[in-house]
Symmetry: C3
Subunit: 166 residues, 3 copies
């Protein structure tokens, strides 16, 4: 089973995705963290540490900022992964072309493991002036549509409340 949680900044999407992951896992699930630790962003580190603390001992954490296939291809049918988040993965792969990214998602869709994805909604504001931000917004839409396609369930999260879209 593949599930997508999609929502804006501080919408509570990660919390709901974590709950869902714990609900559907028959054994200890994996937390696939896509944050690139080589960035020296104190605010982000603080956020992540707070988050890690919240997750406590319920997940086994794996860090992989770019190549999800490398981690997920070793998975077994009974494994459950929470990929938090796909926006960071996209950001870390922004220099890759569309075909490469879509292809990664197609490879992932063939795996038997349960995978819960988290994706930031950045698409409903004014179109950014700078071309890099614009590319990130566009690619979020393109990657998001593909993710929704390969997922069995898709939820939009607003204010900590989930609405099922698929």
């Amino acid at each position: 089973m593949k599930i997508l949680y999609f929502g804006g900044q501080k919408s509570g999407k990660s919390n709901l995705a974590e709950q869902k992951t714990l609900e559907i896992s028959s054994k200890k699930p994996y937390y696939l963290a896509t944050y690139d630790n080589s960035f020296n962003d104190k605010e982000m580190h603080k956020r992540i540490d707070k988050h890690k603390l919240q997750r406590k001992e319920q997940f086994t954490t794996i860090e992989e900022s770019k190549d999800l296939i490398k981690v997920l291809s070793k998975s077994k049918k009974e494994d459950t992964f929470l990929v938090d988040c796909m926006s960071m993965w996209l950001f870390n792969n922004i220099k890759q072309n569309e075909e490469y990214l879509i292809n990664q998602l197609e490879e992932i869709s063939k795996l038997d493991a349960n995978i819960i994805f988290v994706l930031n909604d950045v698409n409903s504001g004014i179109i950014p002036f700078d071309s890099e931000s614009r590319k990130f917004v566009d690619m979020t839409g393109i990657v998001g549509q593909k993710l929704a396609q390969i997922c069995d369930e898709v939820y939009e999260v607003k204010l900590g409340l989930a609405s099922r879209l698929k």
Copy 2:
């Protein structure tokens, strides 16, 4: 009863919140305006005047830009308040810490009066570069999740149309 209307810029959320307030009030409701009049923003003033005119004589207006408890704690069970809007309240209290803001909402949740809240959705666009805007977006999400928690009904408004989230 506590009710939240959440929506983007010019989504029609204030109009729907006003209608709801008038529907559920057994007597003349209060309009709790959170706009800080000390700002010298002509465009905003124009907007507000237009809005005031629309509300006519249906509400008793109270102005309080920061301390909602000061006003609401004097309320009685049969009173109904429209707080328009919580984004302006958050903006005016942005230097307060998260704990203070969440605590204010918890105090409000204990009151017997009917309160209808309006909140701007600013969370589904690209994450702003400047740290102040980013803080405002984050705090909108955090305050919004808490508001949704303490409310009996939550509506998202798009294009003047409300969808119930809770």
Copy 3:
């Protein structure tokens, strides 16, 4: 019948609007392209060419960047138009006043032809600093509410998935 598809950047709204147009047309529908070709924007041209190719031979394309009435007033009851997109039309008419734009939509609502509209959701991000962007966001909300009012069906599109709002 009048139908509105509303969604963020790369949400898949144009694709769904195209499918709907083809479904409800009894004869070859018109594609009313509102893009102003006088802009020399290579990226936009590339996007448009890709889009044109996708539409193949299923539509008769008409280009009109500003005056929709000029084109649509000649329509007959059995005609179906896809107007892609109303955001570009708004952008090209941004110097017009609100009354003029609302009036155009009222004129359109009286026509017997089937019209499917596409509109960008730009309203759920942080309010832009520059006054021109802010005006575009505000006018999108105002025009969007009016469009929703004159339409029989309104859909919000996220990740290629449509939710009916009306």
